[in-house]
Symmetry: C2
Subunit: 876 residues, 2 copies
């Protein structure tokens, strides 16, 4: 087993063993780029280190020193030498980049003797002392875990004593004094002098890097980014080059293109007479990369050449670190640069146009998950920098917004009518009754509920920014205030700002800017549409949503939830009349009043979709969701409905359910109240006929929810057909329509063949299917799911990405059963998973016909579908 | 196609075509018994009649008249003849007996001419007139649907006028007068004279019988008894013999053995000078069959001979109708008699001992479902007759009880302490907190919840009578009264009586009598134990239950629900301390206080089961079930726990769940609070070691509930093993134990192979599995399930008998996946289905190792298991 690799022994494809940084250093070496020489301790040694009780075994140490000797031979320098000393840096480098999460130590190999020698050898005492004090400072922090503040305090004290502002103004004597104090401090805190054994320095640093793999912040980062805890980090040991050797030296970081916008051309900054850490630390303000052209024109030109060569080689935008030592340029690191969604699209399109990558590669390059960031407002960077963070919730629906705190729908409506627009709805949790308020608000903040709570789902549908489950805040409903964790208080009308892409909640106003469409985005999306196989439909309940989705490329409506249509103020009254109707006749009467509204809705949808499929789901939620809960609300409703308080209260309580998710809802409502299904069927078909008469073609598909048995399906289907035939006879016209069902209870999976026999389409409702398959209530599971993630029992929230091994197996089974029975049955998915790239890939693999998602997820879904198709072709 | 069969053309195996009654008439004919001749219109004609818009087609009519002519030829009589007229009866007869549900018309063929002729021919004018008036009365009712009261009123008026009490005292002139009034009434009500066309009479009567197949009461009866609506009824046309021809004539019904006790010997009654309907109608009090020996000894002796011949032929106890016409005995019907459970066992055992049937047949003869009736008290028949019915709920747990209404656990406890024992707990619904009260009550009545509600499950476990879901009653919680549907009111301390086997609720006290064990029962059960293959375990939480079950033949504990153990007053305090503990340390403290209690429970169970398997399930319900709900209760608890009201209220509200069934429960509790699982593991193993030290062997099996994933199982399993190893080390002793899981979420089905790999046993929790597979909340589904039954979408409650096509398929799948991975894995079922014969048959077929049910269902389960095994062998 080989533990240590020289740079010349590796290449870019060895990132699992050598880490990303190490593999790229090897690659650049073999490309002949000016990379300081060095070697890499593998990620396997990291695992071995932990397996062996945090020890470096003798054979590993032996191999490290063998490679070190090789490095000494090749460089002509020698670690700890008093003539031509070698200094090295020790850096972490995991398989996946974890920026800032792990440790780096520079200038190792320095001790009192070497320092003096270096001063003499370079004729630059200031440089030698500066390097030594940096080493002591970093080593104390990273290797010994001593408090940073002790050393920073000493450093600042000397500067103050000397009346110096800039570090570079410290003289060599000043630095010598600092070294003296540093060493004393080191001895005081550790009980030992600063190690003069340079080999010990190197070994201890390597161990420190391994230890940094398991800091809390690193573990948290890995959990959030799905990086395996067992991968471990490699350690890069590299000959030092010095950016702090004077005014013809410096260090910088630079992207080969703008990571925020994707614009072509170098984008970066550097500091003259500084080591790399200074650029990041922000002690001095770095200069823009362009200015290097004036100061060190040769270096600049070479950097441009190298940057282009690296892009050409890696076929992607590069994020590079460099150091200039006395006019000579060195590259210390390169990697594919992180970028905004906006930039990722532009860069991908540009790279295709430059002939560097194929369209397929371009499509695979962009993270579909983040694509909708491009469609939502974002905070202005300057304004964001100064904003105080109040709390953090879940990033439930992307976009940024600021506004006045409003606690109720009524507050929002009142302010909106007065012309105010910057309003944030803050609720314990939202319910369907809040939809009006959510619609008028700029953003929504809820204290309970997860990524798939009512607030989150509806907000995503509206393309509206939402932070959900922000449990650090407490609403005091009596005096209408929000209590923060630090004890301070926010009132109605105070301004807050929400970032629905990060889950952050800020105090006051942070200005936002609108996203801008671009030529590159349009090109990119047209490529994606070309490559995808899956149809992309939208979950939309209103003509407005349908219109937005159509603009984004939706090819039909995969789910229109008719219940949302009843929360409008004019309608809810009739709907409630329907619910409390004591007889079938009274219920019919109320339903008849609702008919024109429903019809109007459907006309709008058919007009918007111009002949594309429109799947309309029959009423789904339990009826109690439409009734008020508090005594006061019940009293008000009783008065307006003209019934007694007692009788209404009794009705409300008789509709109460222990587990509403599994209660009297879905098609079960139609079994009990066939007249509801009939009214909805009538509205759909009458609307279809009217739109057809405008010479717009229509393709209505009526979807029966929550079916678990063929007989149940047959029962509801005949109700619908009965009414449809009546309408067709009355109107003397026919409409071609489909009837199908949602597959969302596990029993429907087992019965999929029988049901397929009589249904024209299936739409997998994977939200409910996930709930029932796991036995997880979506509204309650967040409480314990965090314990599942922490204990690695679950890696993902199964409501976010479909659980392929469980729920997915069931969907696959139903697909096969259904296709066996009816080869061309239309199969799709309309749960939240329909907008999730990983789940879309799954849907492609099992051969569904389409996915359906919320309007603002359409571009994401199109891209994900294209990626799924490309990947499937590649793996053939 | 043949529509009509003469009696001589059929036999007893043709009941599908000829109905039960018809087939048996044919059989008796061919046995040479004295059966009046006749013919049968088939059940297929009934279906045809409905298919053809309620018409008898010409070919059917033609065949009826052909058979009628044959009957005339064979009898020498002629329908409508004025010399030797033939009269016939027309009776229904479906494939399965539906006693009293459908119609019969006697004396058809009578008109003015025939009546006179018959008077002359028989020299018995009274008989002729009585027969005619009976015909008009029945025909008006059954064929024409005229109000019964009109004719009954006329009849009573004449009797009053004449000062007559007994019908038999009416003279022939009186009867002539009645006929006159009847015919006038008939004409007034119908607009036509009473039909003198005797063929019309017959055809209309046949149609009337067909119509009676679809009366509401018949439909309801079929639904309740799972009789297919499409089977239809046959019609039996039979030559009349006359029990009303004088004092040497009569009619009666008689069983070949006592249907209540099973005792050998005739059991029946008869009336002299009467037609069959009079015996049933109860106008005169019939005489016991034994008295016939004195009055008509020849008839009596022949009847005994025939009865024995029929029993010998049918190998079962017979229920016979007979008529004596002028000293000659005729048998009009025979069928296998309905009987009580007690009788069914005794008869089956006697028939074996008499060499008439095999043990296998005997075991198949007894309805396993009803077997536990034998184990519970029943109402005294006399006392029951007079009792006014208040309402009807679900027959949730068998047995009968009367007692004072108590609305709370506290009321029961108070009265019980004063020495009162006859107490009925009446609750909206019960919760685990009511267990104490349920335990002290004689019976339980709930207004909400179904056959598998908390009340029902717990009551069955206790062997206590329970009527659940009695939604006709309304509790007024403020003045502690029950409002009845008729507006009347019951208060606390009023007496009611419950029949948990029928669901009936009566007013006042109905005396009960205890069941008595018998030699026959013991013999019968030992046969059943011999024949069964499935193991039978019990769901028991206390040593008392375990003891009862062991006595009934349980072979281990299949489910001990540890949560029930925490509701004891002493323990609930510590348990609540555990729930609200702010830190792990505080929680451990509270758990340590619970440890001795838990250990004590388990010691009792191990001692009771003496080495047989004891499956102990870890804590399952969500924690909020253990906390109070009202503000007042919370305040009281806060005081006794020494915490602030606000903090406790916040805790209670933070534990609240939208869908508790799918919430933070089962193994999810152990993931969040590993210390709970550890305490329970410690209690189990410490108890096992202590019992082992008493030289009693122990076989503890620790069951992890609600597992959906292998990783989840592994996590909890290692917690348990860690603690078990600690205990074993501390005590210096080892225990052999198993760890396994409940399979109750659909995901566990899909993952059954992976889980089987690490689990030592599976127990299918088909209650929850049914909930999640259908998406039916057990607590809410009753509201809509009735609509499902009515519309024939579902035939059975899937919580009562396992849904073989859905849930059953999943159980079967998991069984196969598990056995593929681990051939000898122990597989059983512990849901309510474990006590249901149909489900037990399923468990046998898919090859489970055992079923587990509540203590009082053990004999039923043993019998059902034996029946399953016998049937499986027979079908090989």
């Amino acid at each position: 087993m080989k533990y240590v690799y020289a740079f010349k022994e590796g290449n870019k494809d060895m990132r699992e063993l050598l880490g990303g940084k190490g593999a790229n250093l090897c690659e650049m070496c073999s490309m002949g780029l000016p990379v300081p020489n060095g070697f890499i301790v593998t990620t396997e040694v990291c695992t071995k280190y932990y397996d062996e009780n945090k020890n470096l075994s003798e054979d590993v140490v032996r191999e490290i020193f063998t490679k070190l000797e090789e490095l000494e031979r090749e460089s002509g320098k020698k670690l700890g030498d008093n003539v031509n000393p070698l200094l090295v840096s020790v850096r972490s480098g995991a398989r996946e980049s974890m920026p800032g999460m792990m440790d780096t130590i520079l200038n190792l190999g320095m001790n009192d003797v070497v320092c003096d020698c270096l001063a003499k050898q370079t004729g630059n005492a200031r440089f030698a002392y500066d390097s030594y004090r940096r080493l002591i400072q970093m080593y104390s922090d990273v290797v010994m875990g001593l408090p940073k503040t002790s050393f920073e305090g000493l450093f600042e004290n000397i500067k103050k004593q000397k009346g110096i502002v800039q570090d570079t103004d410290l003289t060599s004597n000043d630095l010598l004094e600092i070294i003296h104090y540093y060493k004393r401090e080191y001895q005081t805190l550790t009980g030992h002098p600063f190690p003069q054994d340079v080999k010990e320095q190197v070994l201890e640093s390597i161990k420190a890097v391994f230890r940094s793999w398991n800091t809390d912040r690193a573990k948290t980062y890995r959990r959030l980014n799905h990086i395996d805890d067992n991968w471990g980090t490699a350690v890069n040991i590299q000959m030092m080059v010095y950016g702090n050797r004077g005014t013809n030296s410096g260090s910088g970081v630079c992207f080969s293109r703008n990571p925020a916008t994707g614009e072509k051309g170098l984008f970066g900054e550097y500091l003259i007479n500084a080591q790399g850490e200074d650029v990041v630390a922000g002690i001095r303000t770095p200069q823009k990369i362009e200015t290097l052209k004036e100061i060190l024109p040769n270096c600049y030109m070479e950097f441009i050449r190298i940057s282009e060569k690296l892009e050409e080689h890696y076929k992607d935008m590069q994020d590079m670190e460099f150091t200039i030592e006395e006019g000579k340029l060195y590259i210390l690191q390169t990697r594919n640069g992180k970028r905004t969604s906006l930039a990722s699209v532009r860069i991908a399109v540009d790279l295709v146009n430059e002939g560097k990558i194929s369209i397929e590669d371009a499509l695979l390059r962009v993270d579909a998950m983040r694509l909708d960031e491009i469609l939502h407002p974002i905070f202005e960077e300057e304004s964001l920098k100064a904003a105080p963070v109040l709390a953090r919730g879940l990033a439930a629906s992307p976009g940024a917004a600021y506004g006045k705190i409003c606690f109720t729908k009524e507050e929002i409506q009142e302010k909106y009518q007065k012309g105010e627009r910057d309003l944030i709805l803050v609720r314990e949790e939202t319910s369907p009754e809040d939809i009006e308020g959510m619609h008028l608000a700029k953003g929504i903040l809820t204290l309970r509920g997860g990524m798939t709570s009512h607030a989150a789902v509806v907000a995503r549908g509206m393309g509206k920014c939402c932070v959900s489950g922000c449990s650090d805040l407490v609403i005091n409903p009596i005096n209408q205030t929000i209590l923060l964790k630090d004890g301070s208080i926010l009132s109605a009308n105070d301004f807050i700002s929400l970032d629905g892409s990060s889950g952050m909640v800020y105090k006051g106003i942070i200005k936002t800017k609108d996203p801008t469409g671009s030529y590159e985005f349009d090109t990119f999306m047209s490529w994606a549409r070309d490559k995808k196989k899956l149809g992309i439909r939208v979950n939309a309940d209103t003509p407005r949503d349908a219109g937005v989705a159509k603009k984004f490329g939706a090819e039909g409506i995969g789910l229109c939830r008719t219940e949302h249509m009843f929360f409008d103020e004019k309608r809810i009254f009739n709907f409630r009349q329907m619910i409390i109707a004591p007889t079938k006749e009274k219920r019919m009467e109320a339903l008849n009043s609702l008919l024109p509204y429903q019809k109007e809705d459907f006309i709008g949808l058919f007009q918007a979709m111009k002949g594309e499929a429109v799947i309309i789901r029959l009423l789904d939620p339990p009826l109690h969701e439409f009734l008020p809960k508090t005594e006061e609300e019940i009293l008000n409703l009783a008065v307006s409905l003209g019934v007694s308080f007692e009788s209404l209260k009794e009705k409300v309580s008789s509709l109460k359910e222990f587990n509403p998710m599994m209660g009297h809802r879905g098609c079960r409502l139609d079994v009990t109240y066939p007249e509801i299904a009939k009214m909805q069927a009538r509205a759909i078909i009458e609307a279809a006929i009217e739109v057809q008469e405008e010479n717009i073609s229509v393709s209505p598909e009526i979807m029966i929810p929550l079916i678990g048995d063929k007989k149940e399906y047959d029962f509801v289907k005949s109700l619908l057909e009965e009414e449809i035939h009546l309408v067709e006879e009355e109107k003397g016209r026919k409409v071609s329509y489909k009837i199908g069902t949602m597959i969302e209870v596990p029993r429907a999976i087992v019965k999929a063949d029988e049901i397929a026999n009589v249904a024209e389409f299936f739409s997998f409702g994977t939200n409910d299917l996930t709930q029932l398959t796991f036995g997880f209530s979506r509204d309650d599971a967040n409480k314990f799911l965090k314990d599942y993630y922490e204990n690695h029992i679950l890696e993902n929230n199964p409501f976010t990405s479909i659980d392929e091994e469980g729920v997915g197996k069931l969907v696959d089974l139903a697909t096969r059963l259904a296709r066996k029975e009816k080869k061309n049955i239309e199969l799709g998915i309309c749960g939240e998973h329909g907008g999730d790239p990983k789940s879309i890939d799954f849907c492609h693999r099992i051969g569904l016909d389409y996915v359906s998602c919320s309007p603002y997820r359409i571009p994401c879904a199109i891209l994900a579908a294209a990626q799924a198709s490309i990947k499937a072709n590649q793996s053939k």
